[in-house]
């Protein structure tokens, strides 16, 4: 990623190992290639560096390169929160940060290792990238990148993350505490009634 060429990058909290790339017109060659091929339309050439598999709650970096006429487009930088925090069409249409993924309009060509997220769903145009996804029916999500009239769609496997062990432990502890306290109170009351 250079100052003149790269566009990109979203950093939620870390990086998943094992990246792969897909570009418009080569979406079928992406690691998760059984999804629909990427669109090869528009004046921009889009290339995305995306891990083969993403995992909910895990940290991942997505990089989107935008070129025109073989040259990187200047003065654009897109930020994408990487991991889908939601899993429904309804939520994908929700542009609020509470929904998860946000994409801001580009700032300048400077390298941005991490970006502050702005609102998603902004109109497309050079340096401004819409980010949408929709679940398909084969256990994947389709990440769709848009720049002006150019689009790139990449299917990615999403692995389930295990539930929080802390919350599960807390649940068990609370239940045991409640049941044992209630049992103790019942014994005490019945003992009092007998005496």
């Amino acid at each position: 990623m250079t100052g003149t060429g790269a566009i990109a990058a979203a950093l939620l909290a870390g990086i998943l190992a094992g990246g792969a790339s897909a570009s418009d017109g080569q979406g079928a060659g992406a690691p998760n290639s059984s999804g629909p091929p990427a669109a090869a339309t528009g004046a921009y050439q889009l290339t995305a560096e995306i891990p083969a598999t993403i995992r909910r709650g895990a940290v991942v970096t997505l990089i989107l390169h935008v070129r025109k006429g073989g040259r990187p487009v200047d003065r654009t930088a897109a930020c994408m929160a990487a991991v889908p925090l939601f899993m429904s069409v309804e939520d994908a249409l929700d542009p609020t940060p509470a929904g998860g993924i946000d994409l801001g309009p580009g700032g300048d060509s400077a390298v941005q290792p991490a970006c502050t997220m702005a609102i998603a769903g902004v109109p497309s145009g050079p340096g401004t990238y819409a980010f949408t996804w929709e679940p398909d029916t084969s256990g994947r999500v389709n990440l769709a990148f848009t720049a002006a009239d150019s689009t790139l769609t990449v299917p990615i496997d999403v692995e389930g993350a295990p539930p929080s062990s802390a919350i599960l432990t807390l649940f068990v502890v609370l239940v045991v505490l409640i049941l044992s306290t209630a049992a103790w109170m019942r014994r005490r009351r019945s003992a009092g009634a007998v005496s």
Binding site: R56, V89, V158, P163, A182
Partner: protein, 469 residues
């Protein structure tokens, strides 16, 4: 058996047009009196609940492919309001939480009396919890996040176990469950009622309906059958049917909304909850519209905060506004109604407000059902496949929608039309009772309010379907 002092024989009621001592549905009564009822249903729902909990905690993160998520949010939740209309609070009888409460109580229950604060303010507690759960749903994205749904279920389990372990009967179901608020109001508008024949009750010396017998425990929600004059609280668990030695219990089908026509003791919490539910039904759909973005940003400007950084605050303000709007409209309509009726004093206005709040219930129910119909018909087709996918891979090519949006739209409109008709009729009947000398003067402001609420519902439903193609 200690019968509470308030539990004395009622006066009898014919509010639904069904004679108090008339015959009810014998087959329903036979079902409720069966020793297998509600156990058979409870075992099924409890098993389904267990599968759902395991599924949302350990299954696919894709909510459309997770049986627990799809089953909960695209089948159970949308069908719930409809069930109250068709079968009263039958769901509450077969709810796995009720089953769990009973089991915990049998095993370790301390059986303390219901805390006074719950007895006195139970409906308000339920109203607050209902708003809270709505708030948390949107700000934490509960209904679209698999694990968060799982954590919500675990949290509810802890609360249910707590009340089952420490307090008598189904204290949680009666005084705490956040569903109880709209369940009560919708069941009032519903088609099923359980009543006791007072002639036979007067002969009764055992009062087993309240205290229980060797056949079954007493009423789990603290009802004394002869005093049951509405369908708001009874869970149709069948215990009173089993325990009633004089065979005085009658279960009848009635015209929808009939109970609302001449509410004898209108209560402020019922009216407030009716307005809140109406507002919540609207905001639950408005958040899906494009309109929501400028609304959020305008609210942020109003509060001088970044609307996305402070989204929980902004949403809280909007939720409060949506919940309060129908109530503000009702208050204004009540004021105008009293002005037109020529009886303008504070007590009369308050009485008008509380009474006509019941007219909102059918429309709120219709809005809720219509919204549920949308989710059911456009998102539940994957449920059977998701169930099978728990032991395999989710296949390609499965569509979520049963019907295209263009086909769902007229169904939603029809539901809203029925609800509006019900509300307008209830309002008219209430006006005849409330202001017998000038019913139309009392009615017109409320009719306009109901039409305005209908218009708001039609707008959000049609815009949502239009925007989603």
């Amino acid at each position: 058996m200690n019968l509470p002092s308030t539990q004395r024989l009622g006066t009898g009621s014919t509010e639904s047009g069904v004679p108090r001592d008339g015959r009810g549905s014998e087959w329903v009564k036979a079902m409720l009196g069966s020793r297998f009822y509600p156990a058979v249903f409870q075992w099924i729902t409890t098993a389904a609940f267990l599968v759902i909990v395991v599924s949302v905690l350990f299954g696919s993160d894709n909510s459309g492919q997770n049986f627990g998520m799809a089953g909960t949010w695209t089948v159970w939740w949308p069908l719930l309001p409809l069930s109250f209309l068709l079968a009263g609070r039958f769901w509450c009888a077969i709810c796995p939480f009720a089953w769990l409460t009973d089991r915990v109580q049998q095993a370790v229950g301390a059986r303390l009396s219901v805390p006074r604060v719950l007895r006195r303010h139970g409906p308000w507690v339920i109203a607050v919890l209902f708003i809270l759960i709505t708030y948390v749903d949107e700000t934490w994205r509960l209904s679209v996040d698999v694990h968060k749904t799982g954590y919500l279920l675990l949290a509810l389990l802890v609360v249910v176990i707590f009340f089952g372990a420490f307090f008598e009967r189904r204290t949680f179901c009666r005084y705490v469950c956040f569903i109880g608020g709209f369940a009560a109001n919708y069941s009032r508008a519903g088609m099923v009622e359980l009543r006791a024949g007072l002639d036979r009750c007067r002969e009764c010396r055992t009062q087993g309906c309240y205290g229980g017998t060797e056949r079954a425990p007493g009423c789990p929600v603290f009802l004394f059958a002869p005093n049951v004059e509405d369908s708001a609280t009874c869970h149709l668990c069948g215990n009173c049917v089993k325990n009633c030695l004089p065979d005085a219990i009658r279960i009848s089908f009635r015209r929808p909304t009939a109970e609302l026509w001449d509410i004898r003791q209108p209560r402020l919490p019922d009216t407030v909850l009716a307005g809140i539910v109406m507002g919540v039904v609207l905001i639950e759909q408005v958040v899906l519209l494009r309109l929501w973005i400028p609304l959020v940003e305008a609210t942020g400007q109003l509060l001088h905060v970044d609307p996305y950084v402070w989204y929980p605050l902004v949403y809280g303000v909007l939720l409060a506004a949506f919940a309060a709007a129908p109530l503000a409209g009702l208050a204004l309509a009540g004021l105008l109604s009293q002005v037109l009726s020529g009886k303008l004093d504070r007590a009369e206005v308050l009485q008008n407000f509380v009474t006509f709040g019941y007219a909102i219930i059918p429309l709120a129910l219709a809005g809720h059902v219509a919204h549920g119909v949308y989710h059911l018909l456009t998102g539940s087709r994957t449920v059977p496949v998701a169930f099978l996918a728990m032991v395999g891979r989710f296949p390609s090519g499965v569509q979520a929608a049963w019907l295209p949006n263009s086909a769902v739209f007229p169904i939603e409109m029809a539901v809203l039309a029925f609800g509006a008709a019900g509300s307008l009729y209830v309002g008219y009947r209430l006006a005849r009772r409330h202001a017998p000398r000038s019913p139309w003067a009392a009615y017109l402001p409320h009719a306009f309010l109901l039409l305005a609420l209908l218009a708001a519902n039609v707008y959000v439903v049609s815009t949502l379907l239009h925007e989603k193609g």
